[in-house]
Amino acid sequence: MTVPSQELIGTVTAESGIQGQAPLDETAVPSRGRIIVRRFLAQKSALFGLVLLLILILMAYVGPHVAKWGYEQPDYESFLVTPNSSHWFGTDGTGTDLFAATMRGAQKSILIGLLVAILATSMAAVVGATAGYFGKWIDGVLMWIVNLLLVIPSFLIIAILSPRFHNNLTLFVVLLGMFIWQITARIVRGQTLSLREREYVLAAKYMGVSGTRIIFRHILPNLASLLIIDATVNVSTAVLTETGLSFFGFGVQPPDVSLGTLIEAAQTSATTQPWLFLFPAGFLVLLLLAVNLIGQGLRDAFDPSTGVAV
């Protein structure tokens, strides 16, 4: 319900201005979203992280189209060559161009990171809020499942199942997502327990709004900052888990590559052929650094009082 501004006698609104003059733009209050964006961009490290991430994404997705050698066309005339103008990152023992291989792995890591983060954060939000809002047996059942998934070693389950995927990315994303949402779900549940007693939630409830609608319209939007930050953390968790699993041969299977398999393959020759290790590892570290810096910047932008300002 909105009240027409003319009826508010004696109130100075942005529209009427003082003495009915032209609207005063200066009095307009910037929206919360805008304040957060401004605070985020004001931090050098967060801005650096954002630019770095964009550069890395650009490299991973545009780079292969610019480069001379594709991943599936090994150069049989140059084995283990150091980086040069033709092979930007050098080649490995089979003549595969390392730039092409690294970018292929990077594409996978970026995609998996983003998808898993979205999946895991959504699950955490829905399950946590549902358990917290409805309480009683729904809460009991959902939290019991959360606790069970926390006890099951996720690494083990994914490792056992991965040889069956045959590099099916969707299955991999779902499995990774399945195992990283539980702790956030607990936090969301705790927050929901206090939010559901607030006046606006109670008002909506007594107006007859359904529970599901209250969760999506009133509770989750109020947890937006928590969820956005959590999603950023989940991106780096997902990338770390994917590369870690692939490092042991449990994730991405040959003939496909991941940053993890590239690093594993370079492990023994890291001293003698350092480029084989440094490029994939460097890309991975920069990617994680960019995501972490963005996450930290978001945290400070949402809550400038408590953040760990870098």
């Binding site: 069970l148 099951i152 083990l156 001293t271 972490n292």
Partner: protein, 326 residues
């Protein structure tokens, strides 16, 4: 209170039981212990294969539920089963837990001390050069996966050894069995092998804890009781250590206790890369080697250790935080 604790304990035991059973069933249906006979020359007759697999309760021709029943019966009687070449899973388990404990004990403690100290110093020197350097350093280390740190350290050590001309730092295995000398030279050799894995574990643990400790300390530094402590005439140092740090230690101590209680679980990447035959390495090997019984045993042990860790955590919080004591 006692009733609540017992209910929690029972609930947790049920959870561990279900998790272990799920791990067993998943491993029993997905892993293929018969693959060990593949490519043997001369080929092992099928009947012999069945015989051996039956002896270890690993035969995929026996229905899964029957194998599960046998396994469960054994476990209840304190027998964790055999691995694919007949070794006792229980004996392997205790040996490897001990190896992991040895490896992680020093690294975890040093990482904890370093993290807490660096975090507290950074908070006290908020927004000055040392704070920024420490925080950004921690952030960078946090962005380096453990396997990248470990391999980088190996490369560095190899360079150092080459520069010096002899092997100054060893980074493969727990000790050098061929090394001559008595007891003290053996201890020195062991310590030498501990250097790189310990640094790896320390860096990873410390960077995480440092950011935590710094945030907690910053919260506390602005509080009234620290100001009161200063106002009543305490020196800055005393006020900071006795009043601020003690309170700010609670969240990091809970984190630290948790990771400390899990030292017997092992460190998968560190152990594999540095050739320590502990739990973490075993975990990877059992899956690669299709060792169903060992996989289930590891799941159970890790579950129980997590249970103990969270109990220990509660105790430590109660000791540090008088508000929690009832």
């Amino acid at each position: 209170m006692g009733k609540y604790l017992i209910r929690r304990l029972v609930n947790y035991v049920v959870l561990v039981f279900i998790a272990t059973s799920m791990a067993y069933l998943l491993a029993a249906t997905s892993l293929n212990p018969r693959s060990h006979f593949l490519g043997r020359n001369p080929p092992v007759p099928i009947s012999t294969q069945d015989d051996i697999l039956d002896r270890y309760n690993l035969n995929d021709k026996t229905p899964v539920l029957e194998r599960y029943g046998t396994w469960l019966d054994n476990v209840v009687h304190g027998n964790l089963g055999r691995d694919y070449d007949g070794g006792s899973v229980g004996a392997n388990l205790s040996r490897r837990m001990w190896v992991s404990g040895q490896l992680l004990l020093i690294g975890t403690i040093l990482g904890g001390l370093l993290g807490v100290a660096a975090g507290a110093i950074a908070a006290v020197r908020h927004k000055r050069a040392s704070d920024i350097a420490l925080t950004q350093g921690a952030f960078f280390v946090l962005s380096c996966p453990v396997f990248v740190i470990a391999i980088l350290l190996q490369v560095g050590a190899t360079r150092l050894n080459n520069a010096v001309g002899h092997r100054l730092i060893s980074f493969s295995g727990q000790f050098d069995p061929a090394k001559p000398g008595g007891f003290f030279s053996h201890i020195g050799d062991r310590l030498d092998h501990l250097i790189l894995p310990t640094i790896t574990l320390m860096l990873a643990g410390a960077s995480y804890l440092m950011l935590y400790q710094r945030a907690a300390m910053l919260d506390v530094l602005g509080s009234d009781y620290v100001r009161t402590a200063r106002a009543k005439g305490l020196r800055r140092r005393t006020a900071l250590i006795k009043h601020a740090l003690r309170t700010a230690l609670i969240p990091s101590m809970t984190l630290f206790t948790y990771s400390f209680a899990l030292i017997f679980v092992g460190a998968t990447f560190t152990e594999t890369i540095f050739g320590w035959h502990g739990m973490g390495e075993w975990f990877v090997q059992t899956i690669q080697g299709s060792d169903t019984n060992a996989v289930a045993a590891i799941t159970a042990v890790v579950g129980v250790l997590i249970l103990l860790a969270s109990f220990l955590q509660d105790v430590v919080v109660a000791l540090l935080d008088p508000r929690v004591r009832v």
